[in-house]
Subunit: 314 residues, 2 copies
């Protein structure tokens, strides 16, 4: 099934206690595609780069099955983001954001992108997200990210968007700010009351939640003794989640749970490496092995009063 | 199998955004027993109370199968603890600690307590914990809690204690402080390198980890839309964990995982209620139902390349 992502294509300069990058290819659409392409191709990407963007980085994605037809090349500077993480990687400070050509970005879908069945609206202006949604003829599943900036500055448009999407995928602080409720499960119910059938709440080092009217599913983060760079983990999660669904064409509850685990696996690969290029070396077999490791991490048998076990391990 | 707990028996005055208690029965040994007695009796309790303690509260525990022979009644004031939680319950401030008779407490085990097979050393001075360990003839499993105060003030004795216990059960900040490592999985390895065969790291609203040389197991916290009072959740967790093991007499890895889930279930009952008396109304059937709900919360099937599923749901 066709999978389309709209989002930022950026140059990231990130400092962590373990190293730093300067003008490294990044952005939500790039992390999403790099992770997702391991599981499903083609991934169609819509975004904008300036005349200074290292085009070779995108050609490397193309070689892995990413369709770049929707990447606009505009005169001017590419979107740049500079940030520094705390010693324990739990918080980060944005040092600089330069929108460059992103400031005037109006996503236009190439004609052969308009039949996309799986659509991920990365974190951009909700007005642009609505504009993209208008250009897609009959999507099967629309998932959407946002951030505190849009929650504060474009709340009405964001609420309009919520009425037209299937899954809102945000982090816990965004869910709290959007709903005005610090309890994450009440925040999830608030979101479900405003349009989406499901919400995925990303909790960083504590994993992610899938909440629908029918069920709550929790996947922890993968236990890592070495974490190098959290940048892009949320978008890699989204890429793994959506690519698994597009590849299996199965929106059943059990497969949505599996998609969460594929997302968490991709998030774990993201933080183990600096920048997006780490995904070049990750194979589908690596991903399957990590998914099995997640099973081992959380599996337990229920023993009922008769001594019989339900549930069976991998 | 006989289960013994040594710890504080306190009067708690706790304020949360949802209400407050004044001189309510609490303390690590009390929360442990109240939770554990739902799964296993007798639970033998060793501690001290002052002449002002509401003895009826302990008699209520006795009626549920807690052996009070080891509770010393000393002349003077009972241990009192006063605290206030933040609006989102994520942090708390200790407003007052009055040790009272606890200051001169030297646990003495009644003769029929010395054959205890399962022993939980609640958070008290590691010197006293070592003293209790000396009085128990041949324990099968010794688990131990501690806190930042002892990590800072009695580190050498704590390290000595670690060489003689099977499980260190601490929260994440204590594990970080003890090991000097902010990465929780490296902190767990540090603990395993200092004596214990296993460590249980409690993560509050994010659940708990069991780490041994062979395996890592994660149980999330139960999704609760209403949390009233986090006090005692960690001790209730310990009570559920140890009582499940004592009741099943099974230390196999699958049963240790189940014990973690019983612990998490007890922690969830603790935070849904104010104080310890909420456990009076919890039945073994309630606990089993919550354990099954944990299974539903984390369960997913792995589908391998051939399309066959491994793992089976509850």
């Amino acid at each position: 099934m066709s999978l389309l992502v709209v989002g930022s294509i950026a140059l990231d300069s990130v400092a962590t206690p373990f190293g730093q990058t300067a003008d490294a290819p990044g952005g939500s659409a790039v992390f999403f595609s790099a992770a997702g392409a391991i599981l499903h191709t083609p991934i169609r990407i819509v975004g904008v780069v300036g005349s200074d963007y290292p085009w070779g980085a995108l050609k490397a994605l193309e070689a892995r099955g990413v369709d770049l037809t929707g990447v606009e090349r505009a005169a001017g500077e590419s979107f740049r983001w500079k940030a520094k993480y705390s010693y324990d990687l739990s918080t980060r400070e944005t040092l600089e954001t330069r929108l460059g050509v992103f400031a005037d970005f109006h996503p236009k879908l190439p004609p052969h992108f308009r039949d996309a069945r799986f659509l991920f609206l990365g974190n951009i202006d909700p007005e642009l997200q609505l504009g993209v949604l208008d250009q897609v003829t009959s999507p099967t599943l629309v998932a959407c990210d946002t951030m505190n900036y849009w929650i504060q500055s474009k709340r009405d448009l964001l609420l309009e968007l919520l009425r037209h999407i299937d899954i809102l995928m945000v982090n816990d602080s965004e869910a709290r700010e959007l709903s005005g409720d610090w309890n994450i499960y009440r925040a999830a119910r608030w979101i479900l009351g405003h349009g989406p059938k499901m919400t995925v709440i990303k909790q960083g080092e504590h994993g992610a939640l899938l909440v629908s009217d029918a069920t709550t599913f929790k996947v922890p983060a993968y236990p890592l003794q070495e974490v190098f760079d959290p940048t892009g983990a949320g978008d890699a999660f989204a890429g793994g989640f959506m690519a698994h669904l597009a590849s299996t064409e199965d929106l059943s509850p059990p497969n949505l749970r599996r998609a969460m685990v594929y997302g968490a696996a991709m998030g774990s690969f993201a933080v183990e490496r600096f920048g997006v290029q780490g995904f070049d070396a990750v194979t589908p077999a690596d991903v399957r092995a990590r998914v099995r490791a997640f099973k081992e991490l959380v599996h337990f048998d229920v023993v009922d009063g008769t001594g019989a076990a339900s549930g069976r391990g991998p």
